[in-house]
Symmetry: C2
Subunit: 147 residues, 2 copies
């Protein structure tokens, strides 16, 4: 598999290499992703892109994110019931979402190694380390005095 693309140049090269066109909208989306380098909803990406390029429409953002996913530039995951979040493929990690305050945190995929092996052995199920999203209660939302 190709190395993850985490720089602007790498992303645009990948687009170019796939015989896709490098447009202002795509470049701006790529810039936003590289600049923040953490998970963002389509809506957040749209806002950030529109700060620089006000005429880019949400539907274009979705189409670009879809293309970037096909090119393995980004992955998305669904946290809780809310909108999907997107982030660069290079940032391999799982997500923890707090059911109480809605906060999300990213944790290294290594935490899922054991579970991954277990599921593979038990069910032949191949866990996707990019999509892992665990719901629960974060430290802040747990009463200090033990529930």
């Amino acid at each position: 598999m190709p190395a993850p693309q985490n720089t602007l140049d790498e992303i645009l090269s990948a687009v170019h290499g796939a015989a896709k066109r490098v447009t202002v909208a795509k470049r701006t989306v790529a810039e936003v992703l590289v600049a923040t380098n953490r998970h963002l909803t389509a809506d957040e990406i749209t806002s950030l892109v529109q700060e620089r390029e006000p005429d880019v429409s949400p539907s274009t953002i979705y189409r670009i994110l879809e293309e970037f996913e096909n090119l393995q530039i980004v992955v998305h995951a669904h946290l809780g019931q809310a909108a999907a979040v997107y982030h660069l493929t290079g940032a391999v990690h799982g997500h923890l979402t707090c059911e109480h305050c809605g906060a999300t945190m990213e944790i290294p995929a290594a935490h899922f190694d054991a579970l991954s092996k277990d599921l593979q052995k038990s069910y032949g199920f191949l866990l996707d380390r990019h999509h892992v999203a665990i719901s629960g209660t974060c430290a802040h939302c747990q009463p200090a005095t033990r529930a």
Copy 2:
């Protein structure tokens, strides 16, 4: 915490005990949940309920499921990008969702014990065993001849 309600009587008692009314719609939803005893989308529940009580509307199903969640009778989880699934609280289990064929399977929560401890120790994060939904590739969608 109260014992999980998995029989019709227990569910309706819980409703009654909460000073809520026991209606035809609620009884039918409860019957469907008990009869299938696995995860169902709101839409599936609506269809099953309407087979017996055609006049029950989807919005009522959502309201009942919300009430049942508050009463800890059911829990819901979000699998992939699709609709949320609901199941009885008693059926504690995680979900595996195949990104390719969309199939979902339920597995014992015990598989998450180690991960649960790890997350608690590392981040103080309390994993919700009812909500665990893992994305990946199921055995059937993996090429027999090793990818």
